[in-house]
């Protein structure tokens, strides 16, 4: 049942790698080339009365970013469950629709909870 394995079989993988790596490399080179470059000394010094930068850029950032990011991931990932449902939407019919509403309703309950807990309030 298994087809004969030939080097050609791996071609798609190579394609995918070329595309993935190529995209990254191309965009990086492109931005580098396309962006205007005016290197003067003044550009690199702090602006006007700005203070000298101390330390590096990896400073602790507000926990709010973390919270929002995590919440985003959580709700975002739930969307994958809609793919199989969407594919089978026709076969599942009305029942499937109701079930999806229940699913979304549960998510909504979670969302309401988050809002009530003021997790998304920026200040």
């Amino acid at each position: 049942m298994e087809a004969q394995s030939t080097p050609v079989s791996y071609l798609p993988i190579i394609f995918q790698m070329i595309v993935a790596l190529g995209f990254v490399v191309t965009t990086m080179i492109a931005t580098h080339l396309l962006g205007p470059k005016r290197k003067t000394k003044d550009k690199l010094t702090p602006f006007e009365s700005g203070i000298e930068v101390i330390g590096n850029a990896r400073q602790p950032f507000s926990i709010k970013y973390f919270l929002v990011a995590i919440l985003f991931v959580l709700f975002d990932i739930e969307v994958i469950f809609m793919y199989p449902w969407a594919v089978n939407f026709r076969e599942m019919g009305m029942e499937g629709l109701i079930e999806m509403f229940i699913f979304m309703g549960t998510l909504l309950l979670g969302f309401i909870y988050i809002i009530k807990k003021k997790a998304l309030d920026w200040e």
Partner: protein, 109 residues
């Protein structure tokens, strides 16, 4: 398109298994060697992704969609784990200003 799908099915299953096992082992090694909790956690995610890939491969091999649906579950639960895990790591960081796992060894014996 058709020929690409056909030719990719020409890759024997063993290669997938081997590849995923190697990927999984890389994750295990990462967990073993690293001391930063976040990096360890990333290695665990690598292990999970190796499994996801294998599941998909099996799913295609058996012509059975349930393997791929399982992948969705794994991803969703991994996301939940990420949320909780990062929260725990943040909590630790606030108390000890470190994410080094070796700092935490007060509970022992």
């Amino acid at each position: 398109m058709e020929s690409i799908t056909n030719s990719i099915q020409g890759v024997p299953l063993n290669h997938y298994i081997l590849f995923c096992a190697i990927l999984f082992s890389i994750g295990v090694m990462g967990v073993l060697i690293r001391r930063n909790a976040i990096v360890i956690f990333m290695s665990v995610e690598l292990m999970l992704n190796a499994v996801n890939l294998l599941l998909t491969a099996f799913s295609v091999h058996h012509g059975d969609a349930s393997g791929q649906v399982f992948v969705f579950f794994v991803m969703a639960l991994a996301a939940a784990e990420v949320a909780v895990g990062l929260a725990i790591i943040v909590m630790i960081y606030r108390n000890t200003s470190s994410t080094d796992i070796n700092v935490l060894n007060r509970l022992k014996w």
